[in-house]
Symmetry: D3
Subunit: 340 residues, 6 copies
């Protein structure tokens, strides 16, 4: 199938909608913290939580019972309208497009809090077509509500078809913010025989050859997510958008959570979901920028005060392109300093 021509790719899809970003804004997003907005107690905690996390996400989809779907949506609107989120991102995970709630989730949220929402997380994205739908609808709702800043789309990669099409999904719209791996649904979609939400599985591993002495054979556990994360990272980075690990389900096992986050980090992910407050700190620990990189980035900015030209630092040429990368790192470091 043909894609949009590059010149048309960056055009607004509705008269009056804001122009899409040619480069995504710099944001600190080490963890996307989920809360269930139908529960008043949780809503009340949001202003305080927002100070402690990089992104707070109102969850409307899985884990919200069917008879609380509308209460969750209303709760999110209420808390969004009454809270100042500062530099913390406000996201929502809407219900599936084929569910009875998907369309109203989008329209009601955009009508009520479209000017406060940063990112809509879209579950079960199978291909570019799902992004096309949301992209066009958001532009219409931005125009209707006179919203000045484009609301971005974050896809959850949680179907076999989605992984097959991940490069198309990443390239489907300038509104794409990034992607998260959704290991539970993906396992189900693929027929992977695990009910764990992320992490490894004790049965996936390599058995060493038998030894002459008949000793117990070593068993080396394997990473079931290597292919998926590596492919997702390439698709995202090639398109200038951000790859994320998703949820880690076992709240009682912080070490395994840390190991999983670190694996994702090492393969190129920029953050993860936190489904429990304990995971916030793990994410901060794992995903914060490397202090040495920050120091070096500051040296680049100092050496090129106006961002142009070329200088040698420690024998490596720095130019406009590396200046921009350095700027991103220094800006993130500032945000980390504010947030801790």
């Amino acid at each position: 199938m043909q894609t949009k021509t590059p010149r048309n790719f960056f055009k607004a899809l509705a008269v009056g909608a804001p122009k899409p970003y040619q480069e995504l804004p710099t944001r600190l997003e080490r963890m996307i913290h989920f809360f269930p907005p139908q529960i008043e107690k949780m809503r009340n905690k949001v202003p305080e939580m927002a100070k402690n996390v990089d992104v707070i996400l109102g969850n409307l989809e899985d884990a919200i019972p069917a008879d609380s779907k509308e209460a969750a949506r209303a709760g999110l609107i209420e808390v969004a309208q009454s809270t100042d989120f500062g530099s913390t991102g406000l996201w929502v995970r809407i219900n599936c497009l084929n569910s009875p709630w998907g369309l109203e989730d989008i329209t009601e949220l955009m009508n009520a809090i479209g000017d406060k929402l940063d990112v809509i997380m879209l579950p079960k994205v199978d291909g570019a077509w799902d992004v096309h739908y949301l992209d066009q609808l958001l532009a219409q709702l931005e125009a209707r509500n006179n919203i000045k800043k484009p609301v971005l789309i974050h896809a959850i990669l949680e179907t076999a078809e989605g992984v097959k099409n991940v490069e198309d999904i990443a390239a489907a719209s300038p509104r794409m913010h990034g992607m998260s791996l959704g290991p539970a649904d993906l396992a189900a979609s693929r027929g992977m025989k695990t009910t764990r939400v992320g992490g490894g599985h004790p049965f996936y591993g390599m058995l060493a050859d038998p030894t002459a002495d008949g000793a117990d054979r070593a068993f080396f556990q394997q990473d079931p997510w290597h292919y998926t994360i590596a492919k997702m990272v390439d698709a995202c980075m090639a398109n200038g958008i951000k790859p994320f690990y998703g949820p880690f389900g076992d709240f009682s096992d912080n070490d395994a959570c840390r190991a999983q986050f670190r694996n994702a980090f090492l393969l190129g992910c920029m953050g993860a979901w936190s489904l429990h407050p304990k995971q916030i700190e793990i994410a901060k620990e794992v995903f914060s920028p490397d202090p040495e990189e920050v120091v070096f980035a500051k040296r680049i900015l100092e050496a090129m005060p106006d961002g142009t030209g070329a200088v040698m630092i420690d024998g490596k040429m720095q130019d406009d392109a590396t200046w921009k990368q350095a700027k991103v790192i220094v800006d993130l470091a500032k945000l980390v300093d504010e947030k801790g």
Copy 2:
């Protein structure tokens, strides 16, 4: 870009939406007759008009002034609710997706008359992405409104990008009904230097070589739409959907209208728009099924009463496949008999 896998192509896009057609239903659609629904006098004529045309279309887009857009939409709802259209198709041409009216056109019409609408005509389709949007949104609205029969999509081919992508557009959804050539907008989009709506142009033609005797050189007018119609017909027919010619703008020139319709008919189009009552008769004359074909089709049906097996008629083998084609022709002929 990857397309949907064939098995997923035919799945409903929302829980509760009707299953898409694997084969489009047989309908007589020689002309799509436009009326402006904001005008009361025109609305009053609809019940009578509906008896005389194959398809009646409420036009909300071009030719409807901006300050009448909402009146037109409301007028269409009113007339649709109060009229029994019989076997006549009820279509609407909505406003562009990027316009201030596109989204409301879709949602309000589907909420109010989604069970009576047969086809939504979508203007300025540039690529599969525009169809993806409407396809998903219609499924959600069908589910919300408990609609039992899928509302189809008819694309207008009226941009250079759309013609480039016509094969993708035809294949973008099982909900695609067909396409119409939109010569006026297409001319503008391509920079074609004509303000005529369809038909030829006196300046597009071949000049014969000069003759020895210095006589006036012959000038042979050319068809500016040959490429576009031929490409559209192939894209539609390969995908099992229906190609149409669109509007002919000069109501004072019935002969040129007839010539244009006939050209489209000869290249494979199955109908055209009528913007004026006079064009209804021209379309009937041009696009009615050939009586000889009908006779032959009836012979096939008679020879294979249960639609299976293989028979020889006039030395040519007829089988299940030709039986189905014959059935379509005979069904159309019955509809013509009823309508005249």
Copy 3:
């Protein structure tokens, strides 16, 4: 390259051939058990073996000597004609398309036992073109022999080019049943330096960093098949067909066989080959449906006796789609009960 349009994808390729399946039938296929049909002793065991396995496959390709190729083909025909396989699948692995036996394998088997064959396993599939050939030829032979049920195609993924093109292979025909990883030939095709048939290799692993105390460094063996299986699973599941692990060559190492099957199972495979009777039990142990899943699936069927509507079970909505998945699981469980 363009693919068939979705509407044409599901059409029969020969007049008189059965219509392709829009959804594959539910079959229990935990192991595909190979036997060499040129050996009389093995043929005599087939009726008994068939009661104990889910699929029995007559092998005509690798491991059958060139001078026994025709005897193997004849032997398979003989045993197929004289045996009632009950619900057990009858498959054949034919010789390569470019070999001196490929064409006769197909034509003679279809002529003689086309009505008993469930699946043809096609070796060394490089791209969609190989499937296109067999797809068309089978339709012609089905029509010629008046076969009422489509014979399916199962591709072996065993060339670098095949892995590159695995998504196209999965989508090449509605006749595709699934795919198996062929680790021995794939290793050769890729230049992987292993002569083992499946499983890991003692030299593929990560060496831990040295420790301060100079102790022996740990070595962590790695799965050489992770990429290939994960990519194959996504390609299959996105197209509604079934991924399989293939052979495990070391019959003396049941533990390593079990580990390999379990890895494949955890990544989404639905069965494996058994080349030795011992492997039948390993496959049954690994690939049988999870009893808890069966219990839950039965609850869904009970709650929705007619398969429509939506119910809440343990707080999760079940609908037509999950009903169908539940039906598949319950049907499989019944087959397991019969077979053990």
Copy 4:
């Protein structure tokens, strides 16, 4: 869909089959003359006809009654075995792949006269898949019959889907010889409302604007095949294969036949079908190489006796590439001289 990699494209598809041509051999093919091989009288004329035409084709498909299909096949085998065709090409038009005769046509002809057949004309090619089938089957039959020279494939372009996919068809195999436009079936497939076999239609044309004096308006007939032929020519020439016009049905109208052939010739076609002896002469007249081109080509060959280097002729540089083109033209001219 992925195509074969270029290195694999030119490999033989069966052990023992001849290697595909990297460049097609030079052959004079101004007309492909059809005869019905089931008729003894026509068979008897073949040896004589063969001296007068460039290609003689035994027609097994349309126009051969169902009850004569096998007689036609047998008749072709008989005449092929008993005739020396000299430099005249021997072609066959087989029945459709989905018909009851397609497979036997291929296998029986290849088994009996595979070493004499130059080209198989394949009707109703919809996409690359049809060529993939025949390509692989021919290689197997060439190997089985120890045939030393690849039998080529000539596709008839006669469905809307085929025209949509014409570039893939041209690139589907090194065995592709070329393509012919099949105007009758293509018209039916597209829904073009003409029963003429090739040529124009009196109703497809442009009507001039009315004149002030009310005189009869001029009507300029249009070429309904312009798009199709131009697209086919580009697809063929870009792939190094040969485009042909197909049949002209009205044997009573030599002038219209000549006009149609000339149109095809002017757009790039290299030959046409002759269905009647009168059309042989028309094809010779229209498609013979231009004497001036032949003279110039001879000058190039004389100036570069060994085919290498670069010379200036009339101020234009000639090199290895133009030498090859010149060689083709001179070789054709020699064949014309022999044949007249």
Copy 5:
């Protein structure tokens, strides 16, 4: 093959090269006037010619003898360095990439006059790969020579493969300015049997049916370039670049030249080549903007002085998008006023 991701598409290809245009600058380019720079007399006329034409092009390729290639290149450098071209575009047609002169043409011109060249016309473009080469090389030469404004690429469409790939060529780089039809080489590449450079051919036409009275049958000449121009226009306009007709070879037939230019203009071309001074005036006459369009465009600019918002003019809504189109027309009209 994958294309660049949209974000990467607009990046400069060398450190120090100017950033590519996201939107092409507005330029008046009704005719591209060719001159042979090796001839001193012609060089002397350039300053005067430049006042009278929109674009002046130094031709290095066809029509320049091999032994004058270097003199032509040097002559172009000399005249470019010594002339002030004002708002008139300075273009060059370089030799083919595979010729002995192509590389030096590019490097020497960029080194010497890269800051004065507006557009390089690239002959015989077969696919995106040819543009990729020149795109990267120009960026390196711009960086080396500190050029501040990107030199654009104009492709000549003159091979069957190029027409097949025209959409890719149009989308191959943000440096693409547009394309011209090259009818002479294209005819040769396709095997079209005409030696005319553009225009029709007396033998390409439709013969009317015979009449009952046996009168001479009418013959209606056809446009051999319809398919090619229409396809090229769509490819260009969809990518935001400019389509042109190329040369008309018969300088003695101004009327046929005018007819050909007008045909191209009516199909969407924005200019043509002038190979003779007489053709300059014909191009001006045909391709100048329509005065009525200019008047209307001015009304839009006046009604939206700051280019934002939405106003109704004659009942049609004008917005930011139409304002931009109006600005282009008014800017062109100013340039026409200056140039005449």
Copy 6:
């Protein structure tokens, strides 16, 4: 995007350039040994080094300081002109195409030592476009310098976009020799959080489930390069070109280097880079052909002295295809014997 048609793929891109290889020549390339040509002491060692390595590469890119870039290029030319490399390959790694040195690297080296260079290693290849540029430029420079043997291209895979497009890169030109994984830059491009140059990372691993006894949990290190190498190997092998591992950065850890090389070898790589003399021996040890394979290959050659026919060896059929593979292995073994 369309690729070249297969027939055009193998054509020379400049008149006078050598014809591209249809099959790559057999070369022993177990290690590509890097040296910095700006250092006189290193240049003096080259003649001796060349006897001990399979490939010697003059490095102009990373690790060469900006102010030594020209000295490095000149040094490489000097040493290339004065050294006889025998059967040892002479390669160069040029600077990036977007750097200030890339173009001069190519042109100066081709002008001076184009007849001695075997392969140009191109860094940071993002897609086929980068290969298209170098492919065309090399052909022009080969023609200019009358070079008789095509200089090949070896791409470094070291960007996320490059990995995404690796199949296109492998297929971009017949001039492609192969690819190397560049783990350091690739890690940076992907945002992988490692500064190690190749090898694993102590933090990427699976944590075993906790045990009941609270013992230390096992941690299994994982291969971060599995996906990338496996995908690269498939892309290369499917296109008939050669995959390589690249650099291993920690010269103090020979065991880890050996483990990394062995992993690459097991996944299908044919060699690696040596950045330090110690790594030469490791590469020889790991990548030398297996003696048993050599023995078997010799048996094939002996059994088929003229390379045709089919013989049975140990019950497996050997034919023309396996003969060719055997010939490659025996030729390599001879080279190993000479080199040690």
